[in-house]
Amino acid sequence: MKKSLRERLAVLSDAAKYDASCASSGTSKRDSSKSGGLGSTEGSGICHAYAPDGRCISLLKILMTNFCIYDCAYCINRSSSNVERARFTPDEVVWLTLEFYRRNYIEGLFLSSGIIRDSDYTMEQMVRIARDLRLKHNFRGYIHLKTIPEASAKLIEEAGLFADRLSINVELPTDAGVEKFAPQKHPANIRRSMGALKIKIDELSEPTHTRRRKRFVPAGQSTQMIIGAEPTSDATILKSSAGLYSNYSLRRVYYSAFSPIPDASKILPLIKPPLVREHRLYQADWLYRFYGFGMDEITAGKPDGMLELNIDPKLSWALSNRDRFPVDINRADKEMLLRVPGFGVKTVMSILMARKHRRLGLDDLGRLKVSIKKVKAFIEAAGWTPVSLIDRGDLRDMFAPPPEQLVLL
């Protein structure tokens, strides 16, 4: 018997839950006040709900279908898995997106799909969904399409006209990993698609004299890699991210802790997802993108190339570079202030502003909602010099919580 729409929604959202990204920010600002249609994007995206896994629900994140002709070991939809299968028609996806949007459940659609028939056929259907939303229904909400890496360049380009973001997943941090676990995918093709997309984005964002700039994937491209399915060190993962950021101007690299899946392939470890490790990788990624750290600096002091699990990478860096501290908050430059564990970007901006008025002491920092306890070992302020704190052997113990083992299931 044919499954009802609701049953298929259950299957096809279940299948999408392993994808880490649900971001809907960073696209062009637009709304429907002139067009009289439906939808807007105003800078930062909105989380309309939070699932009990703590993740923001911002988009309708579904698969068009979870039938797939490929057999990627880490994926619940691989052809050899006995998972329940279902498929939406393009019109059903359009309908669900619009009806969910109208009730203010979501910011838009994040669509991916298993590969049916072939890459181009699948990609064509996904493009059709995005095109209909934009042109037939005047929809100006957010659209993220996960492109099929082997699809033709022409289709990927058309997708870019309607989507806010396109992602092409590198899947695993190393080529060897991809070849082993996703035998039908080819790292070279994935990179070729990412490169072609980057070139197109650059080309179409060049302003011309005669025409208005075409809107083309305004929120850029992103990718995702699975962590912990095979033994790759954090240093290698971060190095690979740095390469992706600089070669393809990616907006985001998502790290997804490998999660045990029902009917898992036997070649994969059956562990709880390494969530702490995933979290540390995100923190390292953040330091790289917003705090002026080099990826190599972050793992430099670690002989096994692994980030420490019990303290965050910024604190870890500070503890192995004690000669750079204390930092005088009334004189240090922005770059160095950003390296103080416990100072966020906002705090640093506030310090730079406030110190024009007076010399700042610890109480001023307290008013900026900085945890004095955390930062005082690392800074100098009016009336405060950390007496030899930085040389203390127990400094690490002051911060580190007792180490926790990752539990085996």
Partner: protein, 244 residues
């Protein structure tokens, strides 16, 4: 400060002005535009002292030109705290308003939402909904006022509205989605609650699913682990393998 804006000569109303003596004679107030932004947010707050604070800042600004930049001044700190709280509440309103569909009577579809904000923010946030839900008629009703959009004009009122009783079947699809997009192997309840504070829960169609989802998570993960990978792949897998 180069850019300044002129404000009407006796801005706060008498009741708002009680903290300070009124100006003795007519004079012109000059305030930086940043003050207006700040004050507009501050006066939406539900704290009864909000007007006193805004008024005090206005006075102090007349002599302390750089007051706004002094981010560790206690009045500025308080004003920023109120502004932040209003901002947060506004953001949650954009996130957690849930429209339910009413029977269609004319050409346009009609929706209504019931929401309970912490501060007086309906008029402040309503234009956001106008820009977003332009092609449908809607009402947002709250105990602190309401907003109505009919495709031409946006009207807001401060009067407390009553909670409508409406059922919308699409809520069931949304609940289905919510239950299935959650990965039981990644339970992080604290994180969820800090972002989706309980005070907003009562009007969200999906939250009554949460206790069960949390309770069953461990078991689902254990079941998954205990179930051995099956030895037989689906038929189409074999067919695909042959094709290669």
């Amino acid at each position: 400060m180069v850019e300044t804006e002129h404000v009407a000569q006796s801005p706060p109303s008498a009741s708002q002005a009680r903290a300070q003596p009124p100006p003795s004679r007519e004079r012109e107030f000059t305030v930086p535009p940043a003050f207006l932004t700040l004050a507009e947010a501050v006066i939406c707050h539900s704290d009864p002292a909000r007007f006193d604070l805004a008024y005090r800042l206005l006075w102090r600004l007349q002599t302390e030109k750089h007051l706004l930049g002094d981010v560790s001044d206690p009045d500025i700190v308080r004003a920023h705290a109120l502004q932040k709280s209003v901002g947060r509440d506004s953001h949650k309103m954009k996130a957690f308003v849930r429209f339910k569909e009413l029977p269609q009577t004319g050409e346009r579809r009609r929706f209504i939402a019931w929401f309970e904000p912490e501060h007086f923010i309906v008029a402040r946030v309503a234009p956001f909904f106008q820009r977003r839900f332009t092609d449908m008629d809607w009402i947002i009703a709250t105990p602190k006022g309401s907003a109505v959009w009919d495709g031409e004009t946006l009207r807001t009122s401060d009067e407390a509205a009553e909670k409508p009783e409406i059922v919308d079947d699409t809520d069931d699809l949304w609940r289905t989605y919510f239950a299935h997009i959650f990965n039981p192997a990644r339970l992080k309840v604290k994180m969820m609650q800090s972002e989706m504070p309980k005070k907003y829960w009562k009007n969200l169609p999906e939250v009554d699913l949460i206790p069960d989802l949390i309770r069953d998570a461990e078991q689902r993960v254990r079941d998954m682990a205990e179930r051995e990978a099956s030895n037989t792949a689906p038929k189409f897998h074999a067919a695909l393998q042959k094709r290669r």
